[in-house]
Symmetry: C2
């Protein structure tokens, strides 16, 4: 008997967002425009996915992720000449604004009552001019296409749409799958409609496995693209084995392996033949260097070689 | 045999945040300063609570809540002459900044290269002057004390600390418990240390009931305060019964009852003797009136009567 197809499961068990075709079109247009301008295109996924426990959802499962890695990586990909499709969790951290909160920003505003102007106090936000300039250039050149998701179902369908949209640009596409995607979910058919009542006593939950989307992404939807997945563990001793096993199973190009506690200062980029440790030194930290700059530099080089090899 | 005390359970099963004594002191000082200035003090809880599934947490349960109701209510309580302790989920919506995202704000900034100034374009943010003025006055008069939580354990201990801090001001204290608090949790002793492995197959979770904190809050920690709880259901048919039952059980002063789908336009404020429906009309919506203005107006009047009655 044939393995049940993930495509079929996606359509059956995960509600298709109503705007998916519209988003796919805008992604296709974005990818074609930028490749015609000589740029490569990366799809960055970022933030956690929400898994509802009720169909009128009050409660949900989530994955720890502020979206910091995805947001900062987006900036470094743009610096490296890429155009970025930023598929991110609603309200997760965002490129360029990631260092500010709305409260920081309101705290930095001053009323100039004579002119009726509202001005930023640059002692409170010392980087604002530099960040704002870069943000405005990126907007002007349309280098960043933001797409939002909240629920797991939205994430899965939008990622599939992105893969199909980018299949038109072949090896010039990269996938940088930094989102923290749930491994478990409750199928719609097994979900209660209404809020689970606490008066019914302790709660037993039974969760199914989320289909491994990496498999059809690599095999069917975007077979020519350069695909990087992320592996986050809390237990360092199983990390590298799991990273290598993922590469064997899905046959994609790279895994960025990291441990929860040290993820901002140390990662290993694992490919089929190599294993490169990236480490922020104390001196790097003092100079405000971020590990995402190193990760992106490593992967953009690998992507370059990948494109060359696939030309032959 | 005596019922196990909630205090004991709190200490045993929910890790005490290291800064709780410091926070309690600042809340006590805040409450005493403002009552000496003739103000009443409200503790607003806002946003959802995180319930970890692993002790090195990658996954967690959460409750749907943007924090909108708590954040807007804080503004109306301040307009009504209250000082506000805003006990809110990290990164949930915040008073005064709640209508802006960081992207809105960056989009509204303009570089004036001649003077090197960064100025807000007030066509993009038409309310900014008014909001900023009010925000600065509130800061100047120290009318808002923000306290953050993420995990359920932090919420429980910080709320207890708030209740104890406000017990010194008797009936002048109000609790406005708008946070969406989890009813279920996994005790530390039953939690795996490391990230749950998806390779182990489908996930069975068994969750305990969270102790009903409203009970010791009303009976022991702040017995003289005016306490308002919130009841959110998806099923309108059980809502009022549940609200009345809560009042009977906990003997507090008011329940704000609301249904998920209509919560921004319709609530019922239930007390032991009354049941007041608050409804936003289409005309109200056009005038940018918010339902929280009505809720706060109803409750501040009730609080006023409550203080008078307790003087006798």
């Amino acid at each position: 008997m044939a393995e049940p197809s993930i495509d079929g499961k996606l359509a059956e068990e995960f509600a298709v967002p109503s705007h998916v075709e519209e988003v796919k079109e805008s992604m296709t247009e974005f990818a074609q425009y930028h490749t015609s301008e000589g740029r490569r295109v990366v799809v960055i996924t970022s933030g956690g996915t929400k898994v509802p426990l009720e169909s009128r959802t009050v409660r949900f499962l989530d994955n720890f992720s502020s979206g910091r890695r995805g947001a900062s990586s987006a900036e470094y990909f743009i610096e490296a000449g890429y155009a970025v499709i930023f598929l991110h969790r609603h309200r997760s951290l965002y490129p360029y604004t990631r260092m500010f909160s709305t409260i920081n920003m309101l705290d930095a505003l001053q009323l100039k009552s004579e002119q009726g102007e509202v001005v930023v106090d640059q002692e409170v936000l010392p980087n604002i001019t530099k960040v704002l300039k870069r943000y405005q250039e990126v907007k002007e050149h349309r280098l960043l296409l933001p797409i939002e998701f909240s629920a797991l179902a939205e994430y899965l369908h939008l990622l599939k749409a992105a893969a199909q949209a980018l299949s038109t640009i072949g090896s010039k596409a990269m996938f940088y799958l930094a989102a923290a995607v749930s491994d478990f979910y409750i199928p719609a058919s097994e979900m209660p409609e209404h809020k689970i009542q606490s008066s019914n006593g302790p709660l037993q939950l039974s969760l199914n496995m989320v289909p491994k989307i990496l498999s059809p992404l690599v095999k069917d939807w975007a077979p020519q693209a350069f695909v990087t997945s992320f592996k986050l563990e809390t237990d360092a001793s199983i990390l590298l084995d799991k990273a290598k096993k993922a590469l064997d199973t899905y046959r994609h190009q790279a895994v960025v392996a990291n441990v929860l506690d040290s993820r901002r200062g140390y990662v290993v980029v694992v490919t089929r033949d190599t294993q490169v440790e990236l480490l922020l030194t104390d001196e790097d930290v003092k100079k405000d260097i971020e590990i995402e700059e190193m990760i992106v530099s490593n992967l953009t080089s690998a992507h370059c070689r990948f494109i060359d090899q696939n030309k032959v």
